[in-house]
C-alpha cells in the first residue's frame, strides 16, 4: 500500500487584547449582560461609520514582527458578505486584498517519541496576518426552535493568522499553536485563552501520495482546546485515508469536531460554496504605517504608528527567554520548555534559585519532579501552590547545609503540601529528621548496633 502524506494548515483567530473594539468605542469584556457592550455601529444601525482603533493596529504590527513577517506599510480593508443572525451588517470588515503583515515564520519544538530529551525544531510559514471584526454570539435554543443573539462580541478586533500547510499531524499543529499562544501572551497582543474564545483554530486537512498533487482538503471547525486540536486533526487524517482506501472521495466541505465522540462530522448548515462578494470597504482609506525613515514631520504623533518604535519595544520572545534560562542557570533546553509552559513556573524557579545556595541545576529537579508533579496530580496551577517559592527555598537550604538528608527533605515536602502553615524547620524538629552531625554520637550509635547484633557481625567479619 502506497504511503499517505497528510497535509495540515491552520487558520487561527486571536482576539486582540484591547479596551475597546476594532471600529467602535464599546468595551471588550468576556462576561457581561447580553447586548450591554454594543454601540450603534456594532448593531449596524444606519448612519454609523467605522473608526479604527490604534491599539489594534499596534497589536497586529507587534504580532507580525514577532512572527518575522514583512509589515505592509499600506494595507486595505474589505467587506466580506454573508448572512447570519450574529452578523448584523450582513458583512464583516476584513483585509482580503492587502493584509497588514505577510510572509513570516514560526519555529516550534516537538519531542521525538515522547522523550523530552530528544527535541526537534520545526518551522511553519505564516502566510499572512489580517485585522478583522469578530461576530456576535448565537445561542441555539432547539426546544423553542430559535436562536438568541448577543452582540457583545460583535466588532471585537481579531488578528487572523494563516499558517501554510507545512504541518503533517495533530502533534505538530498542537505544538505550533501552543508556541503561537505563548508568543501572543508574551507580547500582550492577545490573552489567547482558548477556553474563553480568545483563540480559535480551524484546521485544513488533506492527504495525498508522495509525488502526487495535494488531495481535496476539508476544513475542521469547533475545536476548543489544544488537546482537541491534535485529536481532531489526527482523526480527520485517518478518516480521509480510510475513505480513499475504500475507493471513496473526499468532499471539499466544512466539518465540525465532536469532542464527546472524538470525531468530525459534516456541518449541515453550510450551503455549498460561499460567494462572499468581496469589495473594498468604502468608508475606510488605506492604512498607512511608518518607520523612522518615512516618518512625516507634520503629522500628529497620535495618528502615527511607527513600526521601528514597536520593534524596539518588543519583549523577549519565548525562544529567547528559554535560551537565556539555559545559559544563565545551566539547565537543559527541555527544562526551559517546561518552565515556560506552566504559567508562573519560571518566576517560581527563579525565586527559589535566588533564595537558596543550592545550584540551579539541582533546584530544577525539585521544581520539575517534585513541585510540578504534585501540582499536576492535584490539578493546581503554580499560583495555587500550597508550597510557596520561599518555603521551598527554606527546605532546600536545610538540605544544602546538610542538616537533613535528601530522603528527609522529601518527607518534609510531603508535610508542607498539607499547607498547615508550618515552616520546614518546624517540621524537621517535629519529626526528628535532623542529620546527626556529631561524630561521637554517631560512633555511639554504630557501636550500639554492632553490640546488639554480635552474631551478624561475626558472620560479616568471616566474609
Amino acid at each position: 500500500l502506497a504511503p499517505w502524506v497528510p497535509v495540515v494548515g491552520l487558520e487561527i483567530h486571536a482576539q486582540i487584547s484591547s479596551n475597546s473594539k476594532l471600529f467602535s468605542g464599546s468595551q471588550v469584556q468576556f462576561a457581561a449582560p447580553p447586548n450591554s457592550l454594543v454601540s450603534f455601529f456594532d448593531a449596524s444601525l444606519p448612519g454609523t461609520l467605522p473608526v479604527l482603533n490604534r491599539r489594534c493596529v499596534e497589536a497586529a504590527v507587534m504580532t507580525g514582527l514577532a512572527l518575522n513577517c514583512s509589515i505592509n506599510k499600506k494595507s486595505l480593508f474589505d467587506r466580506k458578505h454573508y448572512f447570519y443572525a450574529d452578523l448584523p451588517a450582513g458583512y464583516q470588515i476584513t483585509q482580503q486584498r492587502v493584509p497588514i503583515a505577510v510572509n513570516g515564520s514560526l519555529s516550534y519544538s516537538l519531542c521525538i517519541d515522547n522523550k523530552m530529551s530528544q527535541m526537534v525544531t520545526k518551522t511553519v510559514r505564516i502566510k499572512q496576518i489580517q485585522l478583522e471584526q469578530d461576530s456576535g454570539k448565537s445561542l441555539h435554543d432547539d426546544t423553542r426552535s430559535q436562536t438568541l443573539v448577543d452582540l457583545n462580541r460583535a466588532g471585537v478586533g481579531l488578528m487572523e493568522v494563516v499558517m501554510e500547510p507545512d504541518m503533517c499531524c495533530g502533534e505538530e499543529a498542537a505544538a505550533a499553536v501552543r508556541e503561537l499562544q505563548l508568543i501572543l501572551q508574551t507580547l500582550g497582543s492577545s490573552q489567547a485563552v482558548m477556553a474563553e474564545g480568545q483563540l480559535r483554530v480551524d484546521a485544513n486537512v488533506s492527504v495525498h501520495h508522495p509525488g502526487e498533487p495535494y488531495g481535496v482538503r476539508t476544513e475542521v471547525k469547533n475545536i476548543n482546546s489544544i488537546r482537541f486540536l491534535a485529536k481532531a486533526v489526527d482523526y480527520e487524517i485517518q478518516r480521509q485515508i480510510e475513505e480513499l482506501e475504500k475507493g471513496g472521495t473526499i468532499l471539499n466541505e466544512t466539518r465540525a469536531f465532536d469532542s464527546k465522540l472524538g470525531c468530525t462530522v459534516t456541518m449541515r448548515d453550510k450551503e455549498g460554496k460561499q460567494d462572499y462578494r468581496f469589495m473594498p470597504e468604502p468608508n475606510l482609506p488605506p492604512l498607512i504605517l511608518y518607520d523612522t525613515k518615512s516618518l512625516p514631520a507634520n503629522l500628529n504623533h497620535q495618528q502615527v504608528v511607527n513600526i521601528d518604535c514597536i520593534h524596539e519595544r518588543l519583549p523577549d520572545l519565548p525562544s529567547v527567554k528559554r535560551a537565556k534560562l539555559v545559559e544563565r542557570y545551566g539547565i537543559l533546553p527541555e527544562h526551559s520548555f517546561t518552565l515556560l509552559n506552566e504559567d508562573g513556573l519560571t518566576e517560581f524557579f527563579e525565586t527559589v534559585v535566588k533564595e537558596t545556595r543550592m545550584k540551579p541545576k539541582k533546584v530544577i529537579g525539585w521544581i520539575l519532579n517534585d513541585l510540578l508533579s504534585y501540582l499536576k496530580q492535584h490539578s493546581l496551577t503554580v499560583k495555587e501552590s500550597p508550597v510557596s517559592s520561599f518555603l521551598l527555598a527554606d527546605l532546600l537550604n536545610l538540605l544544602e547545609k546538610k542538616e537533613i538528608s535528601s530522603t528527609a527533605a522529601k518527607q518534609v515536602l510531603a508535610e508542607l503540601w498539607k499547607g498547615e502553615g508550618k515552616t520546614p524547620l518546624e517540621i524537621v524538629k517535629e519529626k526528628k529528621l535532623e542529620l546527626i552531625q556529631d561524630q561521637n554520637e554517631l560512633e555511639h550509635i554504630c557501636q550500639a548496633v554492632i553490640d546488639g547484633q554480635e552474631n551478624e557481625v561475626i558472620m560479616m567479619v568471616l566474609g
Partner: protein
C-alpha cells in the same frame, strides 16, 4: 451580453433581492450596460483606484471605552426579544431552489 437565469438566481440568493419581473431584469441589464462604458477608457499603466478616500489619512482612535451600555435602546428595534437577547430563526433559511419558488425567473 445577456444576464443569464443562473446569474439572476445566484444574485437573488446571495443578496436577497427580488427582480420581480421582466422590467426589473431589464433595468439590471441597462445598469450593467451603463457601467460597461468604463471599458472605453484606456487605463494602461494607471494604478486602479478603489476609493476616492485613497489619499486621505485613516484616522486612528485612542483605545478608550466611549460607547455601549444602551441595551434598552437597541432592543427597542427588536420585533422579538428574550431577556435582552435578540431572537432569530434557528438557522439561515435559504431561498428555495429556483424550481420550488414562485418567481417569474422560472418561466425564462
Amino acid at each position: 451580453q445577456e444576464v443569464t437565469v443562473e446569474v439572476l438566481d445566484h444574485l437573488e440568493r446571495l443578496a436577497l433581492v427580488d427582480f420581480r419581473d421582466a422590467e426589473g431584469v431589464e433595468r439590471l441589464q441597462k445598469a450593467i450596460g451603463f457601467a460597461d462604458q468604463l471599458h472605453e477608457v484606456n487605463t494602461d499603466g494607471v494604478e486602479p483606484m478603489d476609493s476616492v478616500l485613497e489619499d486621505r489619512c485613516l484616522y486612528l482612535r485612542e483605545d478608550d471605552v466611549t460607547e455601549g451600555n444602551c441595551t434598552n435602546e437597541l432592543l427597542k428595534n427588536a420585533r422579538e426579544k428574550v431577556e435582552e437577547y435578540f431572537v432569530a430563526p434557528p438557522g439561515n433559511i435559504p431561498l428555495p431552489k429556483l424550481e420550488e419558488r414562485e418567481t417569474f425567473l422560472q418561466g425564462s
